[in-house]
Symmetry: C2
């Protein structure tokens, strides 16, 4: 049996330490091909490039023997996955992994996440997909404590398959190996960002803003990703791209929409 | 009682004809403030501006009496809503409407939609929100046949409230007034885009790609947005930003994740 083909991507860019960790882990599980943005794309959500040209080139990040095939791409994470599937890969990948993101994509952050948008793009194409994020925004973050868990989750996904229409959102707490308690399957916590705009004036006298904010956890449940992370667990949330709020259909069907 | 405050935004930019139609309709229902991108932002998904400055300025698009307060913003649709809520509006809006988009945001297009990301951003902040789209990509599209339905839906949302955690995704078929059959509450159809990259070579000999694609409807259900649109109905899908695939939690809890 041939080794599984693993497509690796991210949103922090092809040279990010989190991606290099993921590549190292995935090489133990299969044949790796990397297609990742040539520059950081954080906060891109599920953006795609419609009005601009896309460039892609073969790059060598790690010149040692057995290094994977790697391509950088001028587009967004979702563009990388589309380009990989249609143009760059010889065969359909067995799984797509995205990350490891420098920073949390738990709770409502999943909505803004380029890391998860790449995984969701693969999921839409019917390919099993997982986004990984470490709750540490630093470029020098230590990804090594999570390596065993990352390999375990991908190996289990390859063995069991991921349910159709579902993409996994895995977040890893910032802790050393001894602090990691295990993996918990969770639901997405309800939360939002309390924005604060930092208003400044540029040298020519024009006002501008920087977007800053504070994360507000509104959900006291002990079955959420935020709760698991706070207790030292890796959170695994099965995530879907059918956004229908089925529970609301009955309610809205009581509205007065049909008279003329 | 004071008139409801209606925040209007979009992703095609503040001068787009679809937004001008929405503004005209909303002026009949309340006090309108417009905060919209200064340039087209289609396909931006739920992008936010983290690494760049945001500019915003008061603009006058329509100099006639009773014209709404309008601001253009250099950011994405989600940025516009954040900036409106935190900096530009005097009070919390009663509803946020986004659109009318030039092009469909039905089915899987909701994932890539800047129009819907603006509405979802408002929804995350607890503000009732609706995204409107016309299934006609042309800049000269005729938005008038849909005006009555747009007003009816917003009036009903103001009267009944939208369930918590839900944002409405409304799509309007391309047809004349006589062809419009009514409004149907639907679920999101399963579909994807069959991408085709158009590979070209630039004048300096470097390869580049244009992203093109063909919409593939995979769902034969007669309760979907795509079905409703094909029959001449306006589709209304209640959409949620809790992406948890609750049905998959049991399945993934059978995986071997807990041994050491």
């Amino acid at each position: 049996m041939s080794k599984p083909l693993i497509l690796v991507t991210n949103d922090d860019g092809i040279t990010a330490p989190g991606l290099r960790t993921l590549v190292r882990c995935m090489k133990e599980l299969g044949e790796v091909v990397v297609v990742a943005p040539d520059s950081p794309q954080s906060g891109m959500g599920h953006a795609i490039t419609l009005d601009n040209t896309l460039y892609s080139k073969r790059v060598v990040i790690d010149p040692e023997a057995g290094a994977p095939k790697e391509y950088s791409c001028s587009g967004t994470p979702a563009d990388c996955v589309k380009l990989a599937l249609q143009e760059l890969l010889d065969r359909r990948p067995d799984i797509c992994v995205s990350g490891i993101n420098h920073g949390s994509n738990a709770s409502i952050n999943v909505i803004y996440s380029g890391t998860m948008s790449a995984a969701i793009e693969a999921g839409i194409e019917g390919i099993p997909a997982i986004g990984f994020s470490l709750c540490d925004y630093s470029w020098e973050a230590d990804f090594t404590p999570a390596e065993d868990a990352v390999k375990k989750i991908v190996a289990q996904a390859l063995e069991n398959g991921i349910p159709k229409g579902v993409v996994l959102n895995v977040n890893i707490p910032k802790t050393d190996k001894a602090g990691l308690k295990g993996i918990k399957v969770c639901r997405q916590a309800r939360a939002n960002w309390k924005e604060k705009f930092d208003k400044r004036t540029n040298p020519s006298g024009k006002d501008y803003y920087w977007l800053t904010g504070e994360f507000q956890l509104l959900d006291k449940g002990e079955d959420t990703d935020e709760w698991a992370l706070s207790q030292g667990y890796i959170s695994l949330v099965p995530t879907q791209f059918d956004l229908t709020a089925h529970f609301a259909i009955q309610d809205i069907n009581t509205w007065n929409l049909h008279e003329h």
